[in-house]
């Protein structure tokens, strides 16, 4: 094993063991210097997680969150130097983390928060304009077989819990979330989309979530709309299209990449 590998493993090891061969420039105890370095690495990564998952932290309290994050960092060290996107696997970690089991919605709240961070950093893409859609209307027979490319920042999260309400309650300006009206056991779906420079999180009906996911997966417009209507007779296609067009979520027309299931 290389010296570098020894060092990297010692940095994240549970026990503070100084890797062999370390020397301090001024002759001080390398084990003590290394312990400071270890602590800085760990704490900065935990801080990064706390920055990316503020609501998750609110839900469990800072002490619980930081202790959980410490275990996560040990088993999921960064794979990329981009700290901003660190911690994408936290939701899956939480699902398998017994002490958090009393909060069954915690993993999905974490999932939503990471989607928000990813949307923030997603690539720019110029949306189609009204004229493009008007032109599409000119050729109505081709409409059903057209696919839509969606904005890189767009994501849909379908949850068995009230993730959007929980998240939204924690956006209160005065910092005291009102959760009395939130029933976490109600299923909710979220649309995450960067509009301009703001990432928006909206609660959307289940059929709408399905429709947008189908478009994202490359299903044709007609097939995706039919599927949504079959699931939910009240599916409001004009409203959903209006929301996607106004939010700049449709960036291109394309050939469908997938057949209806």
């Amino acid at each position: 094993m290389s010296a570098q590998r020894h060092f990297a493993e010692a940095v994240l090891a549970a026990e503070p063991l100084c890797p062999p061969g370390l020397m301090a420039w001024n002759g001080s105890d390398p084990a003590r210097r290394f312990a400071v370095y270890r602590n800085n690495v760990m704490v900065s990564l935990i801080d990064a997680l706390a920055d990316s998952y503020p609501v998750t932290q609110d839900l469990v309290g800072e002490e619980f969150f930081r202790a959980m994050a410490r275990l996560f960092v040990r088993t999921h060290p960064p794979r990329s130097p981009v700290l901003a996107l660190y911690g994408a696997g936290l939701a899956e970690f939480i699902e398998g983390f017994a002490p958090a089991a009393v909060l069954p919605y915690l993993a999905d709240v974490a999932r939503l928060e990471m989607l928000r961070v990813q949307a923030w950093h997603a690539a720019d893409a110029a949306p189609l304009g009204l004229a493009d859609f008007a032109a599409l209307l000119e050729n109505a027979p081709a409409l059903a077989a057209t696919g839509f490319d969606l904005h890189p920042s767009l994501a849909v999260l379908r949850s068995a819990h009230a993730v959007v309400s929980l998240w939204a309650a924690h956006q209160a300006q005065d910092g005291t979330p009102d959760l009395t009206a939130v029933d976490p056991a109600l299923p909710e779906s979220a649309l995450v989309l960067r509009i301009g420079i703001d990432v928006e999180i909206r609660r959307i009906p289940c059929a709408t979530a399905q429709f947008i996911l189908h478009l994202q997966q490359g299903l044709a417009f007609g097939a995706a709309a039919q599927f949504a209507l079959d699931t939910e007779p009240a599916f409001d296609l004009p409203a959903v299209l209006g929301m996607l067009i106004c939010g700049g979520a449709i960036i291109n027309l394309c050939q469908p990449r997938r057949e209806p299931a």
């Binding site: 400071v36 602590n39 800085n40 690495v41 704490v43 900065s44 801080d47 990064a48 920055d51 990316s52 609110d58 839900l59 469990v60 309290g61 002490e63 619980f64 930081r66 202790a67 410490r70 700290l83 901003a84 002490p99 958090a100 009393v102 909060l103 915690l106 923030w120 950093h121 859609f133 008007a134 599409l136 209307l137 027979p141 059903a144 929980l166 979330p177 009102d178 959760l179 009395t180 029933d183 976490p184 056991a185 509009i195 301009g196 420079i197 417009f221 007609g222 709309a225 039919q226 209507l229 079959d230 007779p233 296609l237 004009p238 409203a239 299209l241 209006g242 067009i245 106004c246 700049g248």
Partner: protein, 100 residues
């Protein structure tokens, strides 16, 4: 299962959506009047901010021990309805009392 998406209904829906999208109420709120500004990243989301990712962040923090796992979640969730709680609410507060 009784309704079918015809070409006409798809076109109608798109037409209605465009009418809404073109109305002034929506246009004023569109992305067009904003610009992407570099260098003003969301708090904590840039890579070199003092805080997340800088070594100075670590020095003042205490080291949490592995036995932190005896902790229970605390905070705002106490006010939240809980399906696993015998009372339906406040289960976490009860846990906290046990610990105290």
């Amino acid at each position: 299962m009784n309704k079918t998406m015809t070409t006409a209904s798809l076109a109608l829906a798109l037409g209605a959506a465009l009418t809404v999208a073109a109305s002034p109420a929506f246009a004023a709120d569109s992305a067009a009047d904003k610009e992407k500004c570099y260098g003003v990243a969301l708090k904590g989301k840039n890579d070199c901010k003092a805080g997340a990712g800088t070594s100075c962040a670590g020095t003042s923090k205490t080291d949490y021990q592995g036995n932190a796992w005896t902790l229970v979640p605390k905070g705002t969730c106490e006010k939240t309805v809980s399906s696993t709680s015998p009372t339906g609410k406040g289960q976490l507060a009860e846990f906290k009392e046990k610990k105290a």
